[in-house]
Symmetry: C2
Subunit: 236 residues, 2 copies
């Protein structure tokens, strides 16, 4: 029986539903301002630029840049590409802050609240601390600590993030469990000695979901959602 002391959660996709939250935010913004555009397409393209933009930092093409700033740069480019014109810098900042207001999946708050009674719970996310903190206040996520990527000046899957969190927790990797909806994230965590829990989020990418419908390895726990993870960890 796996018995971790701390549970670290991937956040975008695993805890919050970025896609439908952002599509709603942008659609409402468009209605308010009388701008019609392919908002769903813009959101999908925005997320599509996420890994490539972080990889520019990871490969040293860019100095350390926090995710808010990568998001903002991508947004400026995509607004042009999607023919959304006339937006002020304040508008773009407001839209960019949509990442701070993402909605949790329906089971996230209830599951984390149960788990917090028994374990340390914290995000381990590519988001920066302020993004994750504002998100937590907005969504009621009951984190004990926030491991943003700007604590390490590294993005996942760099080992500095997983091992940096273990070091700050003063726990060996085997006492820490990464909980994620992405098999690739769990593979890195397992290779570094962390325990692993897969949480299925088969609608994260909407009609564009191509992977992560199910666990691809024998992860320590495979859960349908965060409440199911709490059940399987005995957090009543």
């Amino acid at each position: 029986m796996i018995s971790p002391r701390a549970l670290l959660f991937d956040t975008f996709g695993t805890i919050v539903d970025w896609r439908s939250s952002l599509i709603e935010e942008l659609s409402n913004f468009g209605l308010d301002r009388g701008i019609s555009a392919d908002w769903s397409g813009l959101v999908d393209a925005w997320r599509g630029a996420y890994v490539p933009s972080m990889n520019r930092v990871r490969k040293g093409e860019l100095p350390w840049t926090k995710l808010d700033d990568l998001h903002r740069a991508t947004l400026g480019r995509l607004a042009d590409e999607f023919g959304v014109s006339g937006l002020s810098d304040e508008d773009l900042c407001r839209i960019n802050r949509g990442w701070h207001r993402l909605r949790p999946w329906p089971d996230s708050v209830a599951g984390l609240t149960r788990l917090k009674q028994h374990f340390i719970v914290a995000p381990l996310s590519n988001g920066n601390v302020s993004l994750l903190l504002n998100m937590a206040k907005h969504a009621g996520l009951p984190w004990d600590m926030i491991f943003g990527s700007d604590l390490f000046n590294h993005f996942k899957p760099d080992r500095e993030t997983y091992l940096g969190a273990c070091s700050l927790l003063d726990l060996p990797p085997e006492a820490v469990m990464l909980c994620a909806a992405h098999n690739s994230d769990l593979r890195v965590a397992r290779a570094l000695g962390l325990a692993t829990a897969f949480i299925a989020r088969p609608t994260e990418y909407g009609p564009h979901q191509r992977r992560d419908f199910e666990a691809e390895e024998a992860w320590d726990i495979v859960a349908a959602n965060v409440e199911d993870l709490a059940d399987k960890l005995g957090a009543v």
Copy 2:
């Protein structure tokens, strides 16, 4: 009217009563093990070594060393000085972890719980993240984020701690309030542009208290305790 977005709290003395907690821990340990010693004197000497030991790091005489490790080194020396013999390394580690189990002042949890509804609340402490996190779990301190000194590899009053927390919060210093029982801590925060709140803890050092009986400058808020701070910030 001051209206901060985030409240940062000094922890040892301001939120938790380190002295009576540690005297009780050590006295109980002595009873359990049939060791009699001047436990109060040992605790006072332990705390007395706190600033000098951090100053060795701040001045570059020691490389970055987290507070748990400074405490542990001091404890080994003081056990000898106070004639406490026969302790194993495990015993010393157990005693050292007493800093992770400090009791909050009676108003701390209730006051922070109210403040958390309106503000970001976090410690800004010389403790390391794991110490502060274990303390929060043990004492029920409802932090939103934990700013331990090992996020900055600096101890207060180095400016890197105050400004580092503002930077991670993505807030200008004037939107951040330091809340502390120590006038010296508030002086540094004010010089760096932070808002300030004094919280009186006139019994922190027991019979050895020599300073900080009251506010020595016109801090933005002067409060009798954390509940009074919540009253004065309008956090109902």
